[in-house]
Subunit: 318 residues, 2 copies
């Protein structure tokens, strides 16, 4: 990948995170940076792959995906890859290491389950949110089983890493912003199914690194419901269960991403959300299972903006 020209790099902070506020994969990066007390500049990126900025096109020409961490002008891409990089560069004896010290624990406890989350839980979650009837029931059952399995891994520990918040907590906690969505879409109580996991979620959210980054479940539910649809060609374009997938938006929906993004930001910021006009303009077939009035109630003006667009962090939060 290209390294930024010195002129361009000179205008940037030492550490820059390029992301979209509702991107679950990117939340990992922003939490990890905060956990290790790394000051960084945040650049909000366009939701749509085809509308990605020149910066993204230059920094990640292969995938054009976000998040991207730019350190001294050099990009690191892929959320797990970035979190490992952050830990290798800024983790140390004086601060906390996110990954376990022991190679066997790194392999068996940390990376194995991170892969499970990214390649099992995420795909099941996507199927759950995009299916109906028996398929949805089966996906729901599978998802709950996978969550129960993760709960077994957690055991009676405070965090996945043991007593301390660590790598696997960073990797998985962004999914918790969809727990409310799970319950709404699947009509079940996660606390009943996975009591330890919901306790873990609460513990994580007591950390400033997490609470500063994660949108709440209701904010994510709005995004999910708006963008979870299939087009006439049966291709799925979704912000997928609250975790953004970088997919090309087809021509007929070229405006959707921008419209959605603007509308969400506008509504959450100004509490002037107008669902009917938005739905109409997007021509989407949606099933809004969430009372939109409750979004206005629970998504107060400025709240999301403050949380999701930090200009710069300069303090250690650990």
């Amino acid at each position: 990948m290209e390294k930024l020209d010195m002129d361009v790099a000179g205008e940037m902070s030492e550490v820059t995170c390029v992301d979209f506020w509702g991107n679950g994969f990117g939340m990992r990066v922003r939490i990890a940076l905060r956990e290790l007390g790394v000051p960084f500049e945040y650049i909000e990126e366009d939701l749509r792959v085809r509308e990605r900025s020149d910066l993204v096109r230059r920094m990640n020409p292969v995938h054009r995906s976000i998040p991207i961490l730019i350190h001294h002008g050099r990009p690191v891409c892929g959320s797990i890859n970035i979190v490992e990089y952050i830990d290798e560069v800024w983790g140390g004896e004086e601060t906390t290491h996110l990954l376990p010290n022991n190679p066997a624990d790194r392999a068996d406890d940390a990376r194995f389950w991170a892969d499970f989350i990214d390649h099992k839980v995420f795909s099941t979650q996507t199927r759950f949110f995009t299916s109906k009837g028996e398929e949805k029931d089966a996906a729901k059952e599978e998802l709950v089983q996978q969550l129960k399995r993760l709960e077994e891994v957690l055991g009676d520990n405070a965090f996945f890493s043991g007593d301390e918040f660590g790598f696997l907590d960073v990797v998985f906690i962004p999914f918790s912003s969809m727990f409310y969505g799970y319950e709404q879409h699947g009509a079940f109580d996660l606390e009943v199914e996975c009591p330890k996991l919901t306790q873990w979620e609460k513990r994580c959210k007591q950390r400033e690194s997490v609470s500063e980054v994660l949108p709440d479940g209701k904010e994510m539910q709005v995004i999910k419901n708006m963008i979870e649809y299939k087009d006439a060609n049966k291709n799925t374009y979704l912000l997928g269960s609250g975790i953004l997938i970088a997919v090309p938006v087809p021509k007929q929906h070229a405006a959707s991403g921008k419209v959605i993004q603007s509308a969400i930001q506008k509504s959450l910021k100004e509490a002037e959300y107008s669902p009917s006009s938005l739905l109409s303009s997007l021509s989407l077939s949606l099933s809004l299972s969430l009372s939109l009035s409750s979004i206005r109630k629970h998504g107060p003006a400025g709240h999301t903006h403050k949380k999701c667009f930090p200009s710069k962090l300069t303090k250690s939060l650990n």
Copy 2:
């Protein structure tokens, strides 16, 4: 994951690799172990997921996939994960480290491209081998472009890691056992398209660690052609372009895996290959683009067995 009981572990070597000889993902592990001079016991596993041994079911209950590395009775799963583990445990100042020393190089040069290989090249390769007509042409074009991109990463270096054979070489070289398959299936000359990549392949194969592990292209082509088919339900069950995918074999094909495995082993070992009877017994619709006589010619008796079923390595090969 379960740790082996002491009684059971006591019967095993300190380091055990559970794999199937034609598994490209597993080849990475076996090459890495040889590169770092780690003696290991090799246990050949059944090709079919549903017929996996109790050992696999206990060591990798989540995926039941291979390869599995068992070290002091504790399993490590996932080929990239295992290679990183091997490097962390046995790489050191006195031996070679497979991963770069610099965190930025680890992230940007090594892990990023490993992910590209596993999630882009591999899926394109699978589409290429399982499609026809325009879809096949498009997949071929995409595959060649991805190979050219990797060639750009290689540049004028001897290896992906620079002057020394390293992590990304370990990760990608198993794919070269399908280069012959690419050319046969796509009717093109890879050396013309990617001359540097084919030179790199030759350099890698001069290493004992690689030559001892990799089946040659013609052996892999036989497997590919035999198992690359779609069943009546349009589900694809393939050893996928030479890289094994762990898929459940449907009931109506329950015997296929064993039959195929036995037949290949028998044919390559004894040079008594009887394609017509095998095809008949498998009821597969196959297009064998390879002259079977040339397999007998190029796959001499005992050769594959020796290469693929090492009982125990005790020497450093680096």
